[in-house]
Symmetry: C2
Subunit: 390 residues, 2 copies
């Protein structure tokens, strides 16, 4: 499936999508006076404006989904490069693919680290609490800037899948197809428990300073690293951890017997935690955690039914058998609820060893094949033409 060099050199652009006399009103009723969005696009919008695919990213993602930035290592492309590009499932020879950093993010879109125009200082925890719905509104506003009124597909894994789901519920007339991968329509008590522990790790860090650590000498890095380590345990399957690390000792044959990192799995988690703090903001982690905890799109079934039963959106719900964060059970319940509301749903569980992170992998081939066939069908319905004759 992967062919050639993908989309090549790309750049992240920015657009102010709410400002001045047009602030963003949030689902909670609060408002944000100005919202800027960081985004990337790959491929070209066709004359019909019918070939747009929006990539919704997960908790720690960003707008840089494919290709490389000028000067970057060509072997380290964007986070979902294996699915985007000429001849790939999201085929940029015929599709116009957009990815944007979410509202509340820390990769160029307005979030807690941004300057609050009212005070001239970073928002910190004064940034309003946001919901998946609000992330969708910001992306819709970006699409209007880009001249796109309708999506061929909204595609996302994990929190990205939650966005694709909410988008299709709130604006079914704007989404031909929603590919909801390794996601959940409702966190379980166990999911919320993990989220709570990660939040405590950050908020109890003495350098958290109530969220006002920007510009200070010390940030809540230990707390954020710990939160990330906890997250990582839930992203990998027990099986993949066993295969990758087992009980092997790092750089040695025999245990050193001590409190320092000794086992390989400890070293791996430690590295994941440390490298994360260099690229992520603790406040954004808190906001995204709460975005997921409170997500409950089927809360008002009458509303959902009235939206979904119009039949404007086709759904692809994908799960991975080794994902214990958002297991197949989550996906199956979501598929049932969508069908119950009158939706057309393709549900598939893919066998993959990679746990929750499976959505980021190109293997097993069945995964990308399923996405490709879903996208191809949507493209066919819009007369976009098949692969190779875009």
């Amino acid at each position: 499936m992967v062919s050639g060099t993908g989309v090549g050199v790309v750049e992240t652009r920015r657009a102010v999508v709410f400002s001045g006399d047009r602030p963003l009103t949030l689902a909670s009723g609060a408002s944000l006076p100005e919202v800027e969005v960081a985004y990337e696009t790959y491929g070209e919008l066709n004359a019909d404006r019918s070939n747009a695919v929006f990539i919704c990213h997960a908790l720690s993602g960003d707008a840089h989904a494919a290709g490389i930035h000028q000067g970057d290592d060509p072997n380290r492309p964007g986070w979902w490069d294996n699915i985007i590009g000429p001849g790939r499932p999201l085929d940029t020879d015929r599709l116009f693919v957009i990815c944007a950093n979410v509202l509340g993010g820390c990769k160029g879109t307005t979030g807690p680290a941004s300057t609050d125009p009212a005070t001239g200082k970073p928002y910190g925890l004064r940034f309003p609490l946001i919901q998946v719905r609000d992330l969708v509104e910001v992306h819709r506003a970006l699409l209007r800037e880009l001249g796109v009124e309708r999506l061929l597909a909204a595609v996302g894994g994990s929190l990205g899948g939650m966005q694709a789901l909410q988008w299709s519920i709130d604006y079914p007339e704007e989404v031909d197809g929603a590919a909801i991968i390794a996601a959940s329509a409702r966190l379980t008590a166990q999911n919320i428990a993990f989220s709570a522990v990660a939040r405590e790790a950050i908020m109890r860090d003495p350098d958290f300073a109530g969220g006002d650590y920007y510009g200070k000498e010390r940030r809540p890095d230990p707390g954020l690293a710990l939160a990330r380590m906890i997250g990582h345990i839930t992203y990998l399957s027990e099986e993949s951890m066993r295969e990758k690390f087992g009980r092997r000792i790092q750089d040695a044959e025999v245990p050193r017997f001590g409190f320092d990192v000794d086992f390989q799995v400890e070293s791996y988690l430690h590295y994941q935690g440390q490298s994360f703090v260099e690229r992520f903001d603790a406040n954004t982690y808190l906001y995204m955690g709460r975005v997921m905890d409170y997500f409950d799109p089927f809360e008002d079934p009458v509303y959902v039914q009235s939206q979904i039963s119009r039949g404007e959106t086709s759904f692809l719900v994908l799960s991975f058998d080794s994902d214990w964060r958002f297991s197949t059970e989550h996906a199956r319940v979501m598929a049932s609820e969508l069908r119950g509301a009158g939706g057309t749903v393709t549900f598939q569980e893919i066998s993959s060893p990679h746990g929750h992170d499976s959505f980021l992998f190109a293997d097993p081939p069945e995964y990308h094949r399923t996405v490709t066939s879903f996208i191809d069908r949507l493209a066919g319905q819009r007369g976009i033409g098949s692969r190779g004759d875009a």
Copy 2:
């Protein structure tokens, strides 16, 4: 099974089991000049000295397994009261039951908070790293003090099961039966990962002070609370969390949408973390974590075979189907390894909703029934007589 008031009022006693010219030499080669042990006993040692049962406790346990201390709330007996007492599975009308706090503990037995005779100050992290083997040696020394040379059974859940296993491998001639419940002979990468995160939570706490926080104004309570919260997630099953808490909001009908505790499951974890720091020492948590991480009793199969194949110990290996910390797979592997080494093993998986914590519950009845029948068989072999005619 539970009848009457159990063993009634009990007290914790102490015995110095190593001191002076008889220090404890650890498996690592290091030594401890003095070891004191906190213990309790229930029932009477018979004339044959053949009716002793040793209870090995888990990570956060202590010597107070049954009954109540003078002045205590009768509704809050020792941690395993439901299995110990007249007419209970460990029937004190005919058995002499002993429970002791482990070496490295913080409930009366010598541990990191104890005074190092060499310096006159608490050991802190200068306490030597210990192994399951060392915990067993200290308990054996206590038994000698009590005039017990042989156990009818060593019984324990989780880390307690690991001790019962190690005891039977190292001294099969001293253990008629080992009941190894909700335990593992070898932590998986995922187990070690959780342990690593808990350790980091404690050691990164700024008040940890390299383990020398004793007598200071601030202790690493936030770090220890966090470690306990992480642990608790792994002690409950996803199903029991769903049933107990679901997505319910604490003390309210609708979410408050904020970063404070909002969901019931958050409130529960928070409470567990807070109450734990009042009764537990962070250094002990670190030592016990490492005791489990490094546990690998089958590392030398030739040794294990030569010990087990003598056939002196009968094994009961019990697992619970909802335990995902030490799942049935752990128990099954352990049972196979024991059988492979020539051991006589009864293996049983019990269906229970309580996750890893199932070993502390009296239900489902099949659990205690299985333990009872194992103990009764051992007692019969020693001519201890059946229930009711002790």
